[in-house]
């Protein structure tokens, strides 16, 4: 093994170190809070997205009712003439 290989092996063997435990915990708490906030936003957005079949049904009912009413009025007017 030449000197350069030894260097690379030495670099690979350098040990890791960690941040201050309080800081580690603070980062964890902040990240989990951010994730929770994202999930809450997602949940609050979801009902609006899930609402579309009901809205479509309501629009169809209103449209058909209006059409029925228009036909009924037209028929009544035709009878009166």
């Amino acid at each position: 093994m030449n000197f350069r290989d030894e260097l690379v092996t030495g670099l690979a063997g350098l040990r890791t170190c960690d941040a201050d435990p309080q800081r580690v915990e603070r980062i964890r708490v902040r990240c989990l809070a951010a994730l929770e906030a994202q999930r809450r936003r997602e949940r609050s957005r979801r009902p609006r997205l899930a609402d579309w079949p009901r809205r479509l049904e309501l629009s169809a009912v209103l449209g058909l009712s209006a059409l029925y009413l228009a036909v009924a009025i037209t028929s009544s007017l035709a009878l009166l003439r």
Binding site: R4, G10, L11, A12, D18, L35, E42
Partner: protein
């Protein structure tokens, strides 16, 4: 954490990634975040502390990196390599820190480094158990320029593949190879100077 333990963690991570860890993170799964945080926290901090040579700065950058990770989690692509992604963000955070202070590489080198130093919580026995070679390597690494240091840290210390490291540094694989070669040579020179007796250095 020893190198072998880190390798085991990375192996576990790779398996987890295959099982859809990225997909879980995209949905905001806290448990998935905890796995990634535990696996990469110390490695990222070590990278940042060696890059910036200051523990206080490294802790700030570590926090920013993780907050950025959480903020962007939903937008990760399904085939994201978490290690490369995290090291890229960490490196960018460091670059941003340097820019914000309008510090050029030469001026950063003038700052009094707080690394390598006795780690907090490290007992004198633990400090003494660190090999002399390790201490010399740390000192030699700290003497290198930022460009040399970051390429060595990513490839040789953090064990990123050359393609991942090239992507993190925004280089082509060929440019990375050349930069790595130069960095190794400069590290070897620094190590040789570390080995030289004080009289030889003075002469």
């Amino acid at each position: 954490m020893s190198r072998s333990r880190r390798s085991r963690v990375v192996t576990v991570m790779e398996r987890e990634i295959k099982l859809g860890l990225v997909a879980r993170i995209k949905t905001g799964d806290s448990a998935a975040f905890e796995i990634v945080y535990e696996a990469f926290r110390a490695c990222l901090f070590s990278f940042l502390v060696r890059l910036s040579r200051r523990r206080d700065v490294a802790e700030d950058l570590l926090e920013e990196t993780w907050l950025r990770f959480v903020a962007r989690a939903r937008d990760l692509s399904a085939d994201t390599c978490l290690a490369a992604w995290l090291y890229t963000v960490a490196r960018n955070q460091h670059a941003s820190w340097c820019r914000n202070r309008a510090l050029h590489e030469e001026r950063i080198s003038d700052l009094t480094p707080s690394w390598p130093a006795l780690a907090p919580g490290e007992t004198p026995f633990e400090a003494a158990s660190r090999t002399e070679t390790e201490r010399r390597l740390e000192r030699a690494l700290a003497c290198l320029t930022l460009r040399d240091r970051e390429v060595l840290l990513l490839v040789a210390v953090e064990d990123l593949t050359p393609s991942e490291a090239a992507s993190s540094l925004g280089l082509t694989p060929e440019a990375l190879r050349k930069r790595l070669q130069r960095a190794r040579e400069r590290l070897a020179i620094e190590m040789a100077e570390e080995e030289a007796p004080p009289q030889a250095k003075a002469g």
